[in-house]
Amino acid sequence: MKPISNFSIRTILGGYDNNLSYIITCNRSREQVIIDAGIEFKLISKYILKEPTAILITHTHKDHILHLDQYAKNYQSSFIIGHPISADKFLNTHYRVIRHNEIFKIGDLAFTAIHTPGHYVDSICYQLSPALFTGDTMFVGRTGRVINAGSNVEELYDSVYNKILNLPSNIRIYPGHHYGEEMSITLSENINISLLLQAENFLDFSKRMDHYEKNRTPDN
């Protein structure tokens, strides 16, 4: 059956490093969710109809939660949703932990959490079929990097190849930064343009990642 689009996605670009946040609105109930809190509150708030039902955290690197205190202060009834590992970072907020494969419903929309450690230990992708909000696990043109504490290249391989790339190839990803030519892309198109998504196995992926890090320039 053909998917029915019963929601809208507004993309907001800004923050520390071309961060991307998204506001998803259920067309029927008008309930909204925000993906990440890396964009200044005043840039987001003008698109919010009433208090958003939830703010979904893709991972807790500072640039993705930079303005969360301000969001929480202004939207006191909003749930803040993220991985249990990071619960201690959200003691003063309306925090709800979510685990791999758990689902929550907002209006007519059902979001599925996919735990995708690798770039960071608490990384979660949120699937609202046919959309996947990937945070820093996958960008347009490449995967996330594994250079910080809490990163793990084997886990990233597992998350990308055994979780994300097992989803239908027509799913469109909405990443946490605007690093590519486009802001959004389907999985199949992304595989075509990204060497990091064409590995034969983990060893091959690891070599490709090393090659990427040695040859990367500030704009890729």
Binding site: M1, E31, T53, V97, E102, K105
Partner: protein, 90 residues
């Protein structure tokens, strides 16, 4: 020609109705959402080993979908539902 146009219209109409019926009947009635504090999931072994069955004895089959609330570790409420909120239609 007229017949062809009429036939195309009927086919188009029946596709539209089919989709809408699935959405309305199956997805809007699947129970309370996040505003009421509920998550959904398929039962896994770890859930059976926790306090799930104490909360709801019918939630005992791995793979069955439940609507639930947790306090972080333990289940507070759990209800068996027919599917996991019709995610295939979203």
């Amino acid at each position: 020609m007229k017949n062809k146009i009429l036939m195309s219209f009927i086919i188009l109409l029946s596709f539209s109705c089919g989709n809408q019926t699935s959405l309305n009947n199956d997805c809007l009635d699947c129970g309370a959402g996040l505003t009421n504090g509920f998550f959904y999931k398929e039962i896994v072994f770890e859930d059976i080993a926790s306090n799930l069955i104490e909360i709801n004895s019918s939630a005992s089959v791995i793979g069955t979908c439940i609507r639930f609330k947790k306090d972080g570790v333990n289940f507070l409420e759990a209800y068996v539902v027919e599917d996991c909120c019709c995610i295939e239609f979203q």
